[in-house]
């Protein structure tokens, strides 16, 4: 089946993102297709490349990055929610004249339309929130 996920929770503050990651890993291992993972609300923080947990702790940002690169996943971060929360890619950092950008590849900023598109084109959409 074709799944999409919507994640509304920041990493570490709640378990939701870790559960969503494990769910996605299981979907792929079981042979399902992951159409899109959409990060909205506080979920946009999952895309920050500045995430720096202690070495003996899980690095959720890296885990998402590795999974996405292995399976060519579409990790989309809602641009409106991201800008409000200080998650910017290079282009938005330039637009807003910020010194740094912090959205890590392969996460990409896009609009809420991508969430709707995921609902239209997926068999199942599962939401993970805090």
């Amino acid at each position: 089946m074709k799944f999409s996920l919507a994640i509304y929770a920041a990493p570490y503050s709640s378990q939701a993102s870790a559960t969503a990651l494990k769910f996605t890993q299981t979907l792929l291992a079981d042979g399902h297709e992951v159409y899109r993972v959409f990060f909205y609300g506080d979920g946009v923080h999952n895309g920050s490349k500045l995430t720096s947990p202690p070495q003996d702790e899980v690095n959720l940002y890296l885990d998402w990055q590795v999974l996405a690169e292995q399976h060519s996943l579409d990790l989309v971060v809602c641009i409106a929610a991201a800008l409000r929360r200080g998650i910017l890619d290079q282009s938005e950092a330039k637009r807003y004249e910020k010194e740094f950008d912090n959205l890590g590849a392969p996460f990409e900023l896009s609009g809420l339309g991508q969430l709707v598109d995921a609902c239209v084109n997926s068999d199942r959409v599962i939401t993970f929130g805090a």
């Binding site: 378990q15 769910f23 299981t26 199942r124 939401t127 805090a130």
Partner: protein
């Protein structure tokens, strides 16, 4: 076609599970994940309602890893079935849609 409900909050402190139980239907299923697992304790505020919905044929599951993380290995609702993530994926496939409660 049935709905699968996923609850991740403890009923001791939040309303998510009780609100889910207000609308859960006879052919629906319920998975308790994360802190939602505490809802499966015999002492939980939702215990009697959970026993009631089981009698209506509603299946109740809890994620094994989340039960284990929380040391929940006794005093649990007997009709609650521990499942792994593969089984949770399968339940998502078997139901028409999925409602998450948080």
């Amino acid at each position: 076609m049935p709905t699968l409900h996923i609850v991740n909050k403890s009923p001791f402190s939040q309303q998510a599970l009780l609100q889910c139980l207000e609308v859960i239907g006879c052919n629906h299923s319920l998975i308790l994940i994360e802190d939602g697992c505490y809802g499966g304790l015999k002492t939980s505020p939702a215990h009697m309602q959970l026993q009631k919905i089981v009698k209506k044929g509603i299946k109740i599951y809890a994620l094994k890893d989340d039960l284990r993380a929380r040391g929940l290995n006794s005093n649990l609702l007997e009709e609650m079935t521990p499942i792994n993530m593969n089984e949770m994926v399968e339940l998502c496939c078997q139901h028409r849609n999925v409602q998450s409660w948080y």
